[in-house]
Protein backbone atom coordinates (compact mmCIF):
# COMPACT_ATOMS: atom_id res chain seq x y z
CA UNK A 1 0.00 0.00 0.00
CA UNK A 2 2.78 2.36 0.96
CA UNK A 3 4.50 1.55 -2.26
CA UNK A 4 1.33 2.29 -4.19
CA UNK A 5 0.88 5.66 -2.51
CA UNK A 6 4.54 6.41 -2.87
CA UNK A 7 4.32 5.54 -6.53
CA UNK A 8 1.24 7.69 -6.89
CA UNK A 9 3.02 10.53 -5.14
CA UNK A 10 6.10 10.43 -7.25
CA UNK A 11 4.09 10.05 -10.40
CA UNK A 12 1.67 12.83 -9.55
CA UNK A 13 3.56 15.31 -11.64
CA UNK A 14 4.20 12.86 -14.44
CA UNK A 15 1.83 11.70 -17.20
CA UNK A 16 1.73 8.28 -15.57
CA UNK A 17 -0.06 9.57 -12.47
CA UNK A 18 -3.54 8.91 -13.77
CA UNK A 19 -2.48 5.55 -15.13
CA UNK A 20 -1.67 4.54 -11.54
CA UNK A 21 -5.38 4.85 -10.83
CA UNK A 22 -6.31 3.10 -14.03
CA UNK A 23 -7.65 6.26 -15.63
CA UNK A 24 -7.47 5.88 -19.37
CA UNK A 25 -9.50 7.23 -22.28
CA UNK A 26 -11.44 4.07 -23.22
CA UNK A 27 -12.57 3.38 -19.65
CA UNK A 28 -13.20 7.05 -18.91
CA UNK A 29 -15.24 7.68 -22.06
CA UNK A 30 -17.14 4.43 -21.54
CA UNK A 31 -17.93 5.43 -17.94
CA UNK A 32 -18.91 8.95 -19.03
CA UNK A 33 -21.31 7.68 -21.69
CA UNK A 34 -22.47 5.02 -19.26
CA UNK A 35 -23.22 7.57 -16.56
CA UNK A 36 -25.06 9.90 -18.94
CA UNK A 37 -27.17 7.01 -20.25
CA UNK A 38 -27.89 5.87 -16.68
CA UNK A 39 -28.91 9.42 -15.75
CA UNK A 40 -31.39 9.64 -18.59
CA UNK A 41 -32.70 6.11 -18.00
CA UNK A 42 -33.24 6.89 -14.33
CA UNK A 43 -34.80 10.23 -15.19
CA UNK A 44 -37.24 8.66 -17.66
CA UNK A 45 -38.09 5.35 -16.03
CA UNK A 46 -37.43 5.94 -12.35
CA UNK A 47 -38.13 9.54 -11.48
CA UNK A 48 -40.60 10.66 -14.14
CA UNK A 49 -43.56 8.43 -13.16
CA UNK A 50 -43.05 9.00 -9.45
CA UNK A 51 -42.64 12.75 -9.83
CA UNK A 52 -45.67 12.83 -12.11
CA UNK A 53 -47.71 11.05 -9.45
CA UNK A 54 -46.38 13.35 -6.73
CA UNK A 55 -47.22 16.37 -8.88
CA UNK A 56 -50.69 14.98 -9.58
CA UNK A 57 -51.22 14.45 -5.85
CA UNK A 58 -49.90 17.92 -5.06
CA UNK A 59 -52.35 19.37 -7.59
CA UNK A 60 -55.23 17.37 -6.13
CA UNK A 61 -54.34 18.51 -2.62
CA UNK A 62 -54.12 22.11 -3.83
CA UNK A 63 -57.45 21.72 -5.63
CA UNK A 64 -58.93 20.13 -2.51
CA UNK A 65 -57.72 23.04 -0.42
CA UNK A 66 -59.16 25.51 -2.92
CA UNK A 67 -62.46 23.64 -2.88
CA UNK A 68 -62.41 23.59 0.90
CA UNK A 69 -61.83 27.34 0.96
CA UNK A 70 -64.64 27.86 -1.55
CA UNK A 71 -66.96 25.60 0.46
CA UNK A 72 -66.08 27.45 3.66
CA UNK A 73 -66.75 30.76 1.90
CA UNK A 74 -70.02 29.44 0.51
CA UNK A 75 -70.98 28.16 3.94
CA UNK A 76 -70.19 31.53 5.50
CA UNK A 77 -72.18 33.30 2.74
CA UNK A 78 -75.03 30.85 3.15
CA UNK A 79 -75.04 31.33 6.92
CA UNK A 80 -75.03 35.08 6.42
CA UNK A 81 -77.87 34.86 3.90
CA UNK A 82 -79.82 32.56 6.22
CA UNK A 83 -79.29 34.94 9.11
CA UNK A 84 -80.37 37.85 6.95
CA UNK A 85 -83.47 35.91 5.86
CA UNK A 86 -84.27 35.02 9.47
CA UNK A 87 -83.78 38.62 10.53
CA UNK A 88 -85.98 39.81 7.65
CA UNK A 89 -88.64 37.20 8.51
CA UNK A 90 -88.53 38.25 12.16
CA UNK A 91 -88.90 41.90 11.17
CA UNK A 92 -91.78 41.07 8.80
CA UNK A 93 -93.46 38.95 11.45
CA UNK A 94 -93.13 41.72 14.03
CA UNK A 95 -94.51 44.25 11.55
CA UNK A 96 -97.44 41.96 10.66
CA UNK A 97 -98.22 41.35 14.32
CA UNK A 98 -98.20 45.09 14.98
CA UNK A 99 -100.37 45.71 11.97
CA UNK A 100 -102.77 42.95 13.06
CA UNK A 101 -102.88 44.40 16.55
CA UNK A 102 -103.56 47.87 15.20
CA UNK A 103 -106.12 46.50 12.77
CA UNK A 104 -107.88 44.49 15.48
CA UNK A 105 -107.96 47.51 17.77
CA UNK A 106 -109.47 49.81 15.14
CA UNK A 107 -111.96 47.13 14.12
CA UNK A 108 -113.05 46.66 17.73
CA UNK A 109 -113.43 50.40 18.12
CA UNK A 110 -115.39 50.62 14.89
CA UNK A 111 -117.70 47.75 15.88
CA UNK A 112 -118.23 49.27 19.31
CA UNK A 113 -119.10 52.62 17.74
CA UNK A 114 -121.46 50.87 15.35
CA UNK A 115 -123.09 49.01 18.22
CA UNK A 116 -123.46 52.23 20.20
CA UNK A 117 -124.92 54.00 17.19
CA UNK A 118 -127.26 51.10 16.54
CA UNK A 119 -128.37 51.05 20.18
CA UNK A 120 -128.93 54.79 20.14
CA UNK A 121 -130.98 54.50 16.95
CA UNK A 122 -133.08 51.74 18.49
CA UNK A 123 -133.60 53.84 21.60
CA UNK A 124 -134.57 56.85 19.52
CA UNK A 125 -137.02 54.79 17.51
CA UNK A 126 -138.50 53.35 20.69
CA UNK A 127 -138.89 56.78 22.18
CA UNK A 128 -140.50 58.05 19.00
CA UNK A 129 -142.84 55.07 18.95
CA UNK A 130 -143.69 55.61 22.60
CA UNK A 131 -144.33 59.30 21.98
CA UNK A 132 -146.50 58.56 18.99
CA UNK A 133 -148.46 55.96 20.93
CA UNK A 134 -148.91 58.30 23.83
CA UNK A 135 -150.03 61.01 21.50
CA UNK A 136 -152.54 58.68 19.88
CA UNK A 137 -153.76 57.51 23.26
CA UNK A 138 -154.04 61.09 24.49
CA UNK A 139 -156.00 62.04 21.38
CA UNK A 140 -158.29 59.05 21.78
CA UNK A 141 -158.63 59.78 25.47
CA UNK A 142 -159.48 63.39 24.74
CA UNK A 143 -161.94 62.33 22.12
CA UNK A 144 -163.58 59.81 24.49
CA UNK A 145 -163.51 62.30 27.35
CA UNK A 146 -165.17 64.90 25.09
CA UNK A 147 -167.81 62.44 24.02
CA UNK A 148 -168.50 61.50 27.63
CA UNK A 149 -168.69 65.17 28.71
CA UNK A 150 -170.98 66.00 25.80
CA UNK A 151 -173.18 62.97 26.45
CA UNK A 152 -173.29 63.75 30.14
CA UNK A 153 -174.09 67.40 29.50
CA UNK A 154 -176.80 66.50 26.98
CA UNK A 155 -178.32 64.04 29.46
CA UNK A 156 -178.16 66.48 32.35
CA UNK A 157 -179.45 69.49 30.45
CA UNK A 158 -181.80 67.55 28.25
CA UNK A 159 -181.00 69.54 25.23
CA UNK A 160 -179.55 68.59 21.96
CA UNK A 161 -176.10 70.04 21.59
CA UNK A 162 -174.91 71.25 18.19
CA UNK A 163 -171.37 70.97 16.96
CA UNK A 164 -170.26 74.34 18.31
CA UNK A 165 -171.66 73.55 21.74
CA UNK A 166 -170.02 70.19 21.73
CA UNK A 167 -166.72 71.73 20.70
CA UNK A 168 -166.88 74.46 23.34
CA UNK A 169 -167.91 72.08 26.12
CA UNK A 170 -165.08 69.71 25.16
CA UNK A 171 -162.50 72.50 25.15
CA UNK A 172 -163.70 73.78 28.52
CA UNK A 173 -163.66 70.28 30.00
CA UNK A 174 -160.22 69.56 28.62
CA UNK A 175 -158.80 72.86 29.79
CA UNK A 176 -160.14 72.19 33.29
CA UNK A 177 -158.60 68.69 33.25
CA UNK A 178 -155.28 69.80 31.80
CA UNK A 179 -155.32 73.05 33.90
Amino acid sequence: MISIIAAAGTEAASPGFLETFGVNWPFFIAQLVNFIIVLFVLKKFAFAPIQEMLEQRRKRIAEGEDKLKRIEQQLADSEQRTQEAIDKANADAARLINEAKESASSLTEKKAQEAIASAQAILAKAEEAAKAERKTMTAELKKEFGRLVTATTATVTGKVLNDDDQKRINEEALSSVEG
Binding site: N24, V38, V41, K43, F45, A46, P49
Partner: protein, 287 residues
Protein backbone atom coordinates in the same frame (compact mmCIF):
# COMPACT_ATOMS: atom_id res chain seq x y z
CA UNK B 1 -19.77 8.72 14.98
CA UNK B 2 -16.44 10.56 14.99
CA UNK B 3 -14.95 7.74 17.08
CA UNK B 4 -16.03 5.15 14.52
CA UNK B 5 -14.38 7.10 11.72
CA UNK B 6 -11.24 7.47 13.84
CA UNK B 7 -11.13 3.69 14.33
CA UNK B 8 -11.49 3.22 10.58
CA UNK B 9 -8.64 5.61 9.87
CA UNK B 10 -6.52 3.88 12.53
CA UNK B 11 -7.11 0.48 10.95
CA UNK B 12 -6.33 1.86 7.50
CA UNK B 13 -3.07 3.36 8.75
CA UNK B 14 -2.23 0.11 10.49
CA UNK B 15 -2.76 -1.78 7.28
CA UNK B 16 -0.62 0.73 5.44
CA UNK B 17 2.19 0.35 7.95
CA UNK B 18 1.99 -3.43 7.86
CA UNK B 19 1.71 -4.16 4.17
CA UNK B 20 3.13 -7.61 4.47
CA UNK B 21 0.93 -8.67 7.39
CA UNK B 22 -2.46 -8.07 5.86
CA UNK B 23 -1.98 -9.90 2.63
CA UNK B 24 0.50 -12.53 3.70
CA UNK B 25 -2.21 -15.08 4.41
CA UNK B 26 -3.07 -15.63 0.77
CA UNK B 27 -5.47 -12.71 0.43
CA UNK B 28 -5.08 -10.49 -2.60
CA UNK B 29 -4.72 -6.77 -2.64
CA UNK B 30 -7.43 -4.75 -4.40
CA UNK B 31 -5.68 -2.89 -7.21
CA UNK B 32 -6.09 0.87 -7.56
CA UNK B 33 -7.32 0.49 -11.10
CA UNK B 34 -10.26 -1.26 -12.73
CA UNK B 35 -9.77 -4.06 -15.19
CA UNK B 36 -11.81 -5.56 -17.94
CA UNK B 37 -13.02 -9.05 -17.11
CA UNK B 38 -13.07 -9.80 -20.82
CA UNK B 39 -10.12 -11.21 -22.69
CA UNK B 40 -8.14 -9.39 -25.32
CA UNK B 41 -9.61 -9.83 -28.76
CA UNK B 42 -13.19 -10.14 -27.53
CA UNK B 43 -13.86 -6.53 -28.47
CA UNK B 44 -15.30 -5.91 -25.01
CA UNK B 45 -12.19 -4.77 -23.22
CA UNK B 46 -13.68 -1.28 -22.92
CA UNK B 47 -16.07 -2.75 -20.37
CA UNK B 48 -14.48 -2.64 -16.93
CA UNK B 49 -15.43 -4.71 -13.91
CA UNK B 50 -16.63 -1.55 -12.16
CA UNK B 51 -18.81 -0.60 -15.11
CA UNK B 52 -20.72 -3.85 -14.78
CA UNK B 53 -21.53 -2.89 -11.20
CA UNK B 54 -22.84 0.50 -12.35
CA UNK B 55 -25.09 -1.22 -14.89
CA UNK B 56 -26.27 -3.60 -12.23
CA UNK B 57 -27.04 -0.71 -9.87
CA UNK B 58 -28.93 1.18 -12.58
CA UNK B 59 -30.85 -1.99 -13.42
CA UNK B 60 -31.80 -2.48 -9.76
CA UNK B 61 -32.96 1.12 -9.38
CA UNK B 62 -34.96 1.10 -12.61
CA UNK B 63 -36.46 -2.32 -11.84
CA UNK B 64 -37.44 -1.15 -8.36
CA UNK B 65 -39.03 2.00 -9.72
CA UNK B 66 -40.83 0.12 -12.49
CA UNK B 67 -42.26 -2.38 -10.03
CA UNK B 68 -43.14 0.38 -7.58
CA UNK B 69 -44.87 2.43 -10.28
CA UNK B 70 -46.55 -0.45 -12.11
CA UNK B 71 -49.95 0.17 -10.57
CA UNK B 72 -49.79 3.76 -9.48
CA UNK B 73 -52.59 4.84 -7.19
CA UNK B 74 -53.38 8.22 -5.72
CA UNK B 75 -53.36 6.62 -2.30
CA UNK B 76 -49.98 4.87 -2.29
CA UNK B 77 -49.19 1.57 -0.65
CA UNK B 78 -46.34 -0.93 -0.52
CA UNK B 79 -43.41 -0.27 -2.82
CA UNK B 80 -45.05 2.80 -4.34
CA UNK B 81 -45.14 4.29 -0.88
CA UNK B 82 -41.44 3.57 -0.37
CA UNK B 83 -40.47 4.92 -3.79
CA UNK B 84 -42.52 8.07 -3.31
CA UNK B 85 -41.12 8.59 0.18
CA UNK B 86 -37.60 8.26 -1.22
CA UNK B 87 -38.11 10.58 -4.18
CA UNK B 88 -40.12 13.12 -2.21
CA UNK B 89 -37.58 13.06 0.63
CA UNK B 90 -34.70 13.66 -1.78
CA UNK B 91 -36.66 16.36 -3.61
CA UNK B 92 -37.36 18.22 -0.38
CA UNK B 93 -33.77 17.74 0.80
CA UNK B 94 -32.28 19.24 -2.36
CA UNK B 95 -35.10 21.76 -2.52
CA UNK B 96 -34.01 23.16 0.83
CA UNK B 97 -30.53 23.77 -0.56
CA UNK B 98 -31.31 24.82 -4.12
CA UNK B 99 -34.65 26.52 -3.78
CA UNK B 100 -37.90 25.73 -5.54
CA UNK B 101 -36.92 26.90 -9.01
CA UNK B 102 -33.51 25.24 -9.26
CA UNK B 103 -34.57 21.93 -7.75
CA UNK B 104 -37.37 21.61 -10.29
CA UNK B 105 -34.78 22.01 -13.03
CA UNK B 106 -31.98 19.89 -11.64
CA UNK B 107 -33.54 17.24 -9.43
CA UNK B 108 -33.25 14.55 -12.08
CA UNK B 109 -29.46 14.85 -11.85
CA UNK B 110 -29.10 15.08 -8.07
CA UNK B 111 -31.71 12.42 -7.32
CA UNK B 112 -30.35 9.98 -9.88
CA UNK B 113 -26.72 10.58 -8.88
CA UNK B 114 -27.46 10.13 -5.18
CA UNK B 115 -29.35 6.89 -5.71
CA UNK B 116 -26.78 5.58 -8.16
CA UNK B 117 -23.84 6.30 -5.85
CA UNK B 118 -25.69 4.81 -2.88
CA UNK B 119 -26.68 1.60 -4.63
CA UNK B 120 -23.28 1.23 -6.30
CA UNK B 121 -21.57 1.70 -2.90
CA UNK B 122 -23.78 -0.93 -1.28
CA UNK B 123 -23.38 -3.37 -4.16
CA UNK B 124 -19.64 -3.07 -3.69
CA UNK B 125 -20.05 -4.49 -0.18
CA UNK B 126 -21.65 -7.72 -1.37
CA UNK B 127 -19.24 -10.58 -0.61
CA UNK B 128 -17.58 -11.68 -3.80
CA UNK B 129 -17.33 -8.24 -5.35
CA UNK B 130 -13.62 -7.60 -5.75
CA UNK B 131 -12.70 -11.09 -4.54
CA UNK B 132 -14.30 -13.21 -7.27
CA UNK B 133 -12.25 -13.41 -10.40
CA UNK B 134 -9.62 -15.27 -12.32
CA UNK B 135 -5.89 -15.62 -11.91
CA UNK B 136 -3.84 -15.81 -15.07
CA UNK B 137 -0.71 -17.85 -15.73
CA UNK B 138 1.46 -15.10 -14.28
CA UNK B 139 -0.49 -15.24 -11.02
CA UNK B 140 -2.20 -11.93 -11.73
CA UNK B 141 -5.66 -11.82 -10.18
CA UNK B 142 -8.37 -10.14 -12.22
CA UNK B 143 -11.60 -9.33 -10.41
CA UNK B 144 -14.86 -10.12 -12.17
CA UNK B 145 -16.64 -7.31 -10.37
CA UNK B 146 -15.42 -4.21 -8.62
CA UNK B 147 -17.11 -1.53 -6.55
CA UNK B 148 -18.33 1.04 -9.07
CA UNK B 149 -17.04 4.01 -7.13
CA UNK B 150 -13.71 2.31 -6.42
CA UNK B 151 -12.91 3.32 -9.98
CA UNK B 152 -11.58 6.81 -10.60
CA UNK B 153 -12.95 6.69 -14.15
CA UNK B 154 -16.48 6.44 -12.78
CA UNK B 155 -16.12 9.13 -10.11
CA UNK B 156 -14.36 11.41 -12.62
CA UNK B 157 -17.14 10.80 -15.16
CA UNK B 158 -19.72 11.85 -12.59
CA UNK B 159 -17.72 14.90 -11.50
CA UNK B 160 -17.03 16.10 -15.02
CA UNK B 161 -20.67 15.57 -16.04
CA UNK B 162 -21.67 17.68 -13.06
CA UNK B 163 -19.03 20.29 -13.93
CA UNK B 164 -20.41 20.65 -17.47
CA UNK B 165 -23.99 20.74 -16.22
CA UNK B 166 -22.94 23.27 -13.55
CA UNK B 167 -21.55 25.55 -16.29
CA UNK B 168 -24.71 25.13 -18.38
CA UNK B 169 -27.09 25.72 -15.47
CA UNK B 170 -25.07 28.70 -14.20
CA UNK B 171 -24.93 30.36 -17.63
CA UNK B 172 -28.63 29.84 -18.26
CA UNK B 173 -29.66 30.92 -14.76
CA UNK B 174 -27.59 34.06 -14.27
CA UNK B 175 -26.09 34.74 -17.68
CA UNK B 176 -22.47 34.71 -18.82
CA UNK B 177 -21.85 38.31 -17.71
CA UNK B 178 -23.07 37.70 -14.17
CA UNK B 179 -21.18 34.42 -14.07
CA UNK B 180 -17.86 36.18 -14.59
CA UNK B 181 -18.92 39.14 -12.47
CA UNK B 182 -19.58 36.73 -9.63
CA UNK B 183 -15.99 35.47 -9.90
CA UNK B 184 -14.04 38.66 -10.65
CA UNK B 185 -16.14 41.73 -9.81
CA UNK B 186 -15.46 43.55 -6.50
CA UNK B 187 -18.18 43.07 -3.92
CA UNK B 188 -19.28 46.29 -2.25
CA UNK B 189 -18.97 49.99 -3.08
CA UNK B 190 -15.54 51.63 -3.09
CA UNK B 191 -14.19 54.90 -4.36
CA UNK B 192 -10.83 56.36 -5.25
CA UNK B 193 -7.70 54.42 -4.40
CA UNK B 194 -9.68 51.76 -2.55
CA UNK B 195 -11.65 51.04 -5.70
CA UNK B 196 -8.49 50.41 -7.73
CA UNK B 197 -7.07 48.27 -4.93
CA UNK B 198 -10.24 46.25 -4.65
CA UNK B 199 -10.44 45.67 -8.41
CA UNK B 200 -6.90 44.27 -8.38
CA UNK B 201 -7.56 42.23 -5.24
CA UNK B 202 -10.83 40.76 -6.48
CA UNK B 203 -9.22 39.96 -9.83
CA UNK B 204 -6.52 37.98 -8.02
CA UNK B 205 -9.17 36.36 -5.81
CA UNK B 206 -11.09 35.55 -9.00
CA UNK B 207 -8.09 33.72 -10.40
CA UNK B 208 -7.97 31.67 -7.21
CA UNK B 209 -11.70 31.07 -7.56
CA UNK B 210 -11.19 29.82 -11.13
CA UNK B 211 -8.50 27.45 -9.87
CA UNK B 212 -10.84 26.24 -7.12
CA UNK B 213 -13.63 25.74 -9.66
CA UNK B 214 -11.36 23.54 -11.76
CA UNK B 215 -10.19 21.67 -8.67
CA UNK B 216 -13.78 20.88 -7.62
CA UNK B 217 -14.33 17.95 -10.01
CA UNK B 218 -10.89 16.59 -9.10
CA UNK B 219 -11.68 16.84 -5.38
CA UNK B 220 -15.13 15.32 -5.87
CA UNK B 221 -13.67 12.43 -7.86
CA UNK B 222 -10.83 11.63 -5.47
CA UNK B 223 -12.95 12.06 -2.33
CA UNK B 224 -15.51 9.51 -3.42
CA UNK B 225 -12.98 7.18 -4.97
CA UNK B 226 -10.67 7.38 -1.95
CA UNK B 227 -13.38 6.69 0.59
CA UNK B 228 -14.88 3.76 -1.26
CA UNK B 229 -11.58 2.25 -2.35
CA UNK B 230 -10.19 2.77 1.16
CA UNK B 231 -13.21 1.05 2.69
CA UNK B 232 -12.99 -1.94 0.41
CA UNK B 233 -9.27 -2.18 0.96
CA UNK B 234 -9.79 -2.01 4.71
CA UNK B 235 -12.33 -4.83 4.58
CA UNK B 236 -10.09 -7.01 2.42
CA UNK B 237 -7.06 -6.25 4.55
CA UNK B 238 -8.90 -7.13 7.75
CA UNK B 239 -10.17 -10.36 6.27
CA UNK B 240 -6.65 -11.30 5.27
CA UNK B 241 -5.39 -10.84 8.82
CA UNK B 242 -6.98 -14.05 10.13
CA UNK B 243 -7.36 -17.59 8.84
CA UNK B 244 -9.85 -17.70 5.97
CA UNK B 245 -12.60 -19.53 7.90
CA UNK B 246 -12.73 -16.63 10.37
CA UNK B 247 -12.09 -13.95 7.80
CA UNK B 248 -15.55 -12.45 8.20
CA UNK B 249 -15.03 -11.74 11.91
CA UNK B 250 -12.66 -8.74 11.91
CA UNK B 251 -14.44 -7.23 8.90
CA UNK B 252 -17.95 -7.60 10.30
CA UNK B 253 -18.05 -4.37 12.39
CA UNK B 254 -16.59 -2.50 9.47
CA UNK B 255 -19.36 -3.69 7.18
CA UNK B 256 -21.76 -1.62 9.27
CA UNK B 257 -19.28 1.21 9.09
CA UNK B 258 -19.12 0.90 5.30
CA UNK B 259 -22.90 0.96 5.09
CA UNK B 260 -22.73 4.32 6.79
CA UNK B 261 -19.81 5.48 4.66
CA UNK B 262 -21.70 4.50 1.50
CA UNK B 263 -24.63 6.70 2.52
CA UNK B 264 -22.47 9.56 3.75
CA UNK B 265 -20.36 9.63 0.60
CA UNK B 266 -23.44 9.61 -1.65
CA UNK B 267 -24.77 12.47 0.42
CA UNK B 268 -21.48 14.40 0.46
CA UNK B 269 -20.99 14.13 -3.30
CA UNK B 270 -24.47 15.30 -4.22
CA UNK B 271 -24.65 17.84 -1.40
CA UNK B 272 -21.42 19.50 -2.50
CA UNK B 273 -22.62 19.55 -6.11
CA UNK B 274 -25.87 21.20 -4.97
CA UNK B 275 -24.00 23.75 -2.85
CA UNK B 276 -21.63 24.61 -5.72
CA UNK B 277 -24.59 25.21 -7.99
CA UNK B 278 -26.47 27.22 -5.40
CA UNK B 279 -23.41 29.38 -4.65
CA UNK B 280 -23.17 30.43 -8.26
CA UNK B 281 -26.89 30.76 -8.99
CA UNK B 282 -27.67 32.67 -5.81
CA UNK B 283 -25.62 35.56 -7.27
CA UNK B 284 -28.55 36.88 -9.28
CA UNK B 285 -30.86 36.70 -6.26
CA UNK B 286 -28.45 38.72 -4.09
CA UNK B 287 -27.93 41.46 -6.67
Amino acid sequence: MAQLFSVRIFISVLLLLLPGAAFAGGGHQLPLYPESPFTEGSGLTWISNSMIMVWLAALIIVAFCRVATKKMALIPSGLQNLAEWLVEGLYDFFGNILGEHLVKRTFWFFGATFLLILVVNYLGLIPGVGTMGTTDAHGHFKGLLRGGNADLNMTAAMSITFFLLWLYWSFTEIGVKNFFAHIFAPQGTFTGFMKVGMIVMFFLVGILEVVSIFIRPVALSFRLFGNIYGGEQTLEGLMALVPKYFAFLPALPFYFMELLVGLVQALVFTLLCAVFLKLMCSHSEEH
